[in-house]
Structure formats: C-alpha cells, structure tokens
Amino acid sequence: MKVLVAVKRVVDYNVKVRAKADGSDVELNNVKMAINPFCEIAVEEAVRLKEAGTASEVVVASIGDKSCQEQIRTALALGADRGIHVEAEGRPEPLEVAKLLKGVVAAESPDLVILGKQSIDGDNNQTGQMLAALAGMGQGTFASEVNIGEGTVQVTREVDGGLQTVELKLPAVVTTDLRLNEPRYASLPNIMKAKKKPLETLSPADLGVDIQSHVALVGVKPPAERSAGIKVESVEQLVDKLKNEAKVIS
C-alpha cells in the first residue's frame, strides 16, 4: 500500500514566539524553523509501516514557499521515498491546504494519509479532518495506535476521558497524537541519501485549486500576564494560606 504523509514547516518548538512591537503579526525573522512535531510523528509512523512490510511507498507532501523543501528533505532523511512540494506563498489556511492535499490524493491515490493532529504555530487542528471530508474518507484523529487490516485500518484515538477505537475503510486519513510513536533521528548517511531522492514541485493550478482567504489576521498581542505571588516557607504555611487567604479549601 501507498502512504501519503503531509508535513508542515513551523517555528521550532523551542523558540519562544513573541508579538511584533506594532502588534501586526508575530516576529518570525531569523527564528529557527523545523518540521512540525506532530508531522514528524506522522512520518515516523509511515516509515514504520514500510519497515514492517505493510507499506510499499511513503510519499511526503508539504505546502508552502520554497523553504519548506527543507522539511521535505528532513522527512526523506527519516525514510520517506519521495517528496511533493506544492508551492504556495504566504500562509494558506487549513481549508485551502486540505483542498491542495485533496488534489495530491487524487493524483497519487494513497491507501492511507497520515498528518499531524495540529501544527504548533496556528494550533488549528483542522487540516486532516477537512481533507477527510473533502475526499469522502473516514478519519482516525488523535491516533495513539494504528493497525492496518484487510482494506481497513483500526485506529485507537485519544479522546476526553480515555481511548476510543474505530475501524475505517481504506483509503482513510489518520492524524497523530503524541504517544503514537517516538520519532527517530536522521543519520548522516540518510541525510546524504535524502538529497538524491526525487522531489517534485507542483503549483496550486496543477491541482486545480485557486487559493482563497477566509480569515484575516487583525493583529496579535501577548497573553494576559499573571503576576507571581508569594513563596511560602512550609507546607503548613501553604495550607494556612489556601484556607484563610485564598479560601479555596476548607
């Protein structure tokens, strides 16, 4: 079976992002970029399916400007076979990304599409579900376990209060949660090999999509600050404060 993985280039998770002084947007000049952590888990899952002999090919797609080829190469170094870069300027919204991915799905006919559950920049948690709806596929979101069957996939999902297992007809969409797997590090030889793997570039027009904007960014601001309180000296003093000052316990 063929697996398609979508990856997003985002600010590295170690970077503390701040609003620009004029509040127009976040400051993204000269910050370290990386593959979105949930997308990395998606790549790892696909590569494991290939190593287990379940998947025959892992295709990785990313949507963005030229720089996102870097993240495609990272995914190739982790074990994906080839890349597809859909060139799009600015920040395409999740619905538009889902439409572009639907185009890629139509061209590639994967049996399984794996995406991260959300990107750590926009925190939208939408693209996988939207792609599934547009392509008429079932979805296993927030996956902590994925088992491929005969023409089906069973996905164990992290839901409020526990786990839920669903079975989906293939082709299907899976979005990854944290505990699905622990991504490997790319070895130097694999990084070198990744440079020679095929990477195709497509335009939105190639996929029949005219990118639209539905939501405008009016501005950004830092979150409301919470001021530090006091340090207590002992457990006894803490309990006293909670009882008599904060009055949150009795």
């Binding site: 069973q154 839901v159 209060g161 669903v166 009016v218 919470r226």
Partner: protein, 309 residues
C-alpha cells in the same frame, strides 16, 4: 443572527462544555439553538431544552449516530447548519473531531478555540501554544467555530423552556465503525470541570509516584492531571495532559507538582483562580505564575501536604 450550538453529550445527559459554548454564542447576540446528534439521545435533548437562553433544540436521533462518529455526525450538522449564520461547538475532543469536517462540507473556514468574541465576525484565539493571542476576522458568510470552554462562563443549566424538534436526518457515510473504548473509570471529577486539579510533571520521576497525588486528590475532591513532559515520559496516559495540545483547565485551585512550567503547560492552566507550585528548583518558570510557591522536594512535601489537609 442565528447560532446553532452542537451539543457535547453522552446521549443520556448534556456535558457542561455545551453551556460554555451557549454563553459564547449569546455574546454574538441573536437566537441560540442547540443541536443534539446521537442515538437514544432524548435525555440530552431535554437537558439542552432546559438551558437558559436556548430557543429550540434540534434532535437528530438515529442509530448511525450512536458513537458520534465524525463521518456521520458531520453530515447531520452540516445539514442543520445551512439555516444558521454560525455553528459552534465546544473545543472538546469531539468538537475538534467533527467541526472541521462540517466546515469543509460547507466550504468555509473554521475558527478554532476562540477565547473572546469581539463582534459577529471578529474573534480572539491563542496561537503558538498560547504565546500569542491573535485577533482574527472572518469573511465567510457562514461561520464554524469551536470555543475554548474555560474562556466563557457557563450559561445556567436551568431556566430555559426550549421546544425539542426532531430532525429526520439519517446520515451514514458508511466509511467508519465503532470498535470499542476504554474510558478511565474514576470516582474523581472530570479534569476539565473539576474545581480542584493537582498535576504532576517530570519531577514525579515515574508513573508509580503519581499515587502520591491520589491521597491529596481524594481529600480535595480533585482531578489529577499531568504535564506533557510527564505524558511523553510515559508516566501517565495522554488524557491526563494539561496544556495547549492537551486539556485546557481553569479550576478554582490548581496545584502543580514537579512541573517546571513550559509555556505549553501554562497555556493549559493559567486561567485557574489560584495556582500553587511545588518544585525544588526555585528558578522554575512555574513560580512566575503561581500565587503560592513552595520550594521543596516533592517527595517530602506531598506526604506532609496530605497529612495537613
């Protein structure tokens, strides 16, 4: 302005998160109706009809919706949404699963996890793990929104006199089925609605040590949570996770034990009324948001705290 709230429920009863979404919808002004999609969900529909301020409850009751599979539920929601200006759901695991599908079916954007309503088109929402609050303006004529429940005070669960209308919609997309679930059985309150939460972090060192939180949780009738670091380390299941990629909580009292206070964790709990931090590292960022900080080794402080309560 007509807003439809997609209820969070378990067929028998309405989940409290629905009340927060109703409150957010009331800030938009206009009519607020509630849609209950389930199977044998009369109980939930009647509870929704009792919520103050709700005009009509639409009830799509069909066996195809028994486990609220997103593929089927989204079709019912999209059908009902066609007569509304705005469709909203709480940003629970369910809401996050279903609503983007609804938005895609309607060919509109979704605005995720709003924390404030500025006007009918403009909303605030946290991005970058809560490091930044974005103000966004939608140009879609129909809106699909998920609501961060902790940002809106719940509408009263009683006092409403809505009528319940059944909706014929029976949609089975036929691509997914329910296999089973493992729901953590606990006598403790639910993490997102508990008035006291005690959470452990990497400092707990292993999963067994989380039992040290249990005695305290029992005494305070608290829910137990964890930081992402503790979940990543495999100490506890992911449904314990408090943070931007986990659950967002805002209890009256939040006790953070052995948690350093990464921004992604703070994003999930900083709206708590009173925050207590217990950590042996006096420079831990968690102390910058704590009302009461105790610099101490948790392995001696926790037993002491349990005894003192």
């Amino acid at each position: 302005m007509k807003t439809l709230i997609v209820a969070e429920h378990d067929n028998q009863s309405l989940k409290a998160a629905t009340l927060n979404a109703v409150a957010a919808a009331q800030q938009l002004g206009g009519d607020v109706d509630v849609l209950v999609v389930g199977s044998g969900c009369e109980g939930a529909a009647n509870a929704a009809a009792a919520v103050a301020g709700v005009g009509t409850v639409l009830c799509a009751d069909n066996s195809a919706y028994e486990h609220q599979l997103a593929e089927n539920v989204s079709l019912a929601v999209a059908e009902a949404a066609s007569s509304y200006d705005c469709t909203m759901a709480p940003a629970t695991a369910n809401g996050k699963n279903v609503m983007p599908r609804v938005a895609a079916l309607l060919d509109v954007a979704q605005i995720s996890d709003i924390t404030a309503v500025i006007d009918a088109d403009t909303f605030e929402r946290p991005i970058y793990a809560g490091n930044v609050i974005a103000t966004v303006k939608s140009s879609d004529s129909k809106k699909v929104i998920t609501v961060r429940t902790t940002a809106f005070d719940a509408a009263p669960a009683e006092g409403g006199t809505a009528t319940v209308q059944s909706m014929a919609a029976a949609h089975d997309a036929g691509v997914s089925s329910f296999i089973g679930e493992e729901v953590a059985v606990s006598d403790r309150p639910e993490l997102t609605s508990a008035s006291v939460v005690i959470s452990g972090g990497r400092g707990m060192q292993n999963g067994d040590n989380f039992s040290m939180l249990e005695g305290i949780a029992d005494k305070l009738n608290a829910a137990i949570g964890a930081s992402r670091a503790a979940v990543d380390a495999g100490f506890v299941p992911n449904d314990y996770q408090v943070g931007q990629t986990g659950k967002i909580v805002a209890p009256d009292l939040y006790i953070a034990v052995g948690i350093s206070g990464a921004i992604q964790h703070l994003a999930g709990m900083k709206d708590s009324k009173v925050i207590v931090a217990i950590n042996k590292d006096e420079d831990a960022p968690i102390f910058q948001v704590a009302d009461y900080g105790l610099v101490a080794d948790l392995f001696s402080a926790l037993p002491e705290l349990e005894t003192a309560l």
